[in-house]
Symmetry: C2
Amino acid sequence: MTGIPVLRTSDNVRTLVDSWRGAGMRVGFVPTMGALHQGHLSLVSAALEQTDRVIVSIFVNPSQFGPEEDLDSYPRTFTRDLMKLEEAGAHGVFFPSETEIYPDGFSTSVHVSGLTENLCGKYRPGHFNGVATVCAVLFGIVHPDVAVFGRKDAQQLAVIRRMVKDLRLDVDILAADIFREPDGLAMSSRNSYLSPDERKQAAVIFGGLSKAVEMVSKGERHTEPICIAVREFISRAALAEIQYLEIVDINTMKPVDMLTTPGLLAIAVYFGKTRLIDNVILKP
Amino acid sequence: MTGIPVLRTSDNVRTLVDSWRGAGMRVGFVPTMGALHQGHLSLVSAALEQTDRVIVSIFVNPSQFGPEEDLDSYPRTFTRDLMKLEEAGAHGVFFPSETEIYPDGFSTSVHVSGLTENLCGKYRPGHFNGVATVCAVLFGIVHPDVAVFGRKDAQQLAVIRRMVKDLRLDVDILAADIFREPDGLAMSSRNSYLSPDERKQAAVIFGGLSKAVEMVSKGERHTEPICIAVREFISRAALAEIQYLEIVDINTMKPVDMLTTPGLLAIAVYFGKTRLIDNVILKP
C-alpha cells in the first residue's frame, strides 16, 4: 500500500487544496489519463519546482475519444501509477469516477476554434472540445496556481493556453519539454500498444524531426523542402504511415511557408493501429 | 458628473474587487447590456442585500445577437445608466470596450446543450453560446461571490446555472423576480422600440400569463388546454404575433404535458418588429 492520498470526490480535493492554500502554499496540478511514464513524472517534477504541493489527476476522459478510437483499450495501470506518483513526490491523486466529472445533466462544453482546425483537430473531430471541457472542469475543481502540460501534445497546449487566456481562468500554464526514450521516441502511454518491430521502427519519427532541425540549422527557411525531406526520411520505415506532417505557426497552428519566426513541425504517424504524435520547434 | 467609479479595463476591475475582498467584503455582480430600467435596478438591490459591494457591467455583447437582430439599434443610454446606478447604490461600473472582452485572437466559446434547443434557443441560434461565453468571461474578470440574473430571461438563467454547475465556477447565481409596469408588461430595454399602440396592446402578454395561473389555481393540470387558452387570449390583440408559447420543465426546458411539478409557461411575442419575452411559473 502507498501513503499518497487518493481523492475520489471534488469536495475532498477542494478541502485538501483549501487547507494547503490556507497555509500559504502554492498548488500545482498535473492532469493525466494515467498509464504514467517518465514523461508524466517529468511534469510532476516541473510542478514541484514551481509550487509547494502537487495534485495529479488520473481520469480517462471519454469525451476526448472519437467513436472509433481506443477509449476501451486505453491502458489502465492505477496501482503502478500510484507508486510512481508517490516516488515522484506528488502530494495527492485525484481519481474521480466518470459521474464525478460529468454528473447527471451535465450539458456544457468549451470549444476553442481556429487553433483546432488543423493537425490532430482535423483528424480527431471533437477531441479538443473534450480536452478543453475536461480541463476547465478540472481547473474548476482543483483551483491550482499552476497546471503543467507536456509539449508533446503541442496543439493541446495551445488550446489550453488559449482557453485560459480567453476565459480569464486564474491558472498559470507551464509547458514541460518532451521526454524521450534513449532512441528518441517520445514517451507515450500508447507506446505500449506497439509490437517489437513497430517499436523499433518508431524511432524513425525522431530521426525525421532531427533531420528538419539540421536543415534549419544549415539555413533552410522554406517549409516545403523540409516537409518533403522529413516525409521521405520517415517513409523509409516500412511500418510507418504518416497521417499528417506540417509546419505551423506555434501560436495559431496555421501552416507557414517560410520560417521567419519559430515554427512547429508536427507529425502524426500510424504504426499498425497505433497512432503516435511528435513535434519539434524549428527556430530560424 | 457622477461619482461612481467607471472601470474600462479588466485589470482595473480586478484591482478594485481584490481590494474589497482583501477587506473581507463579499462582492456582487449584475451583468447588463445597459439601457437600464427598474428591472435592472431591482437586480442591483437584490445583489446589495446579499453582498457588501456591487459591480454592474454594461456591455452590449455582439456574440449574442443574430445577423438579422437589433445589435446596431439596441438602445445605448450610458450617461443615464450611470446616474441610475449611482442612485441604486452600486459601487462600480464595468464598461469595457469590445476588444477588452474579446481581444485579438479570442477563440473560445462555451456551449450549453439540451437546455438551449427549445424556446428562444430555437429561434435565436447561437444566442445562448454568446450569453454563456460572455458570462464566463465576465465571471473570470470580476470574480464575484454572487451574480444576479432576472427571471424574465428564464432560459438564460437556466443556461447560466447549468454552466456554473458544470464548470464548477465559484459564484452563486441569484434569480430576481420579474419587474413589471403597472399594466403588467415586463420591463425590458426593448419596450422602448414599441409604438404607442403596440405598447398599449403589449399588456395582453401579462393578461395571458395571468389566465394560465388562474386555470392552474382552478385545478387544470394538462398543459395543452392552458396553452390554447393563453394563445387565444393573446391573439385578441391585433398587433400581437406569437413566436412561441410553451410550458416546459423549469430545469430542463423540455415541454411537459402535465403539471406534476412546477412548469414554466414561456412566451415570445412580436409587436411589429419588436420581440418581447415573458414567463410565469405555474405551480400545481
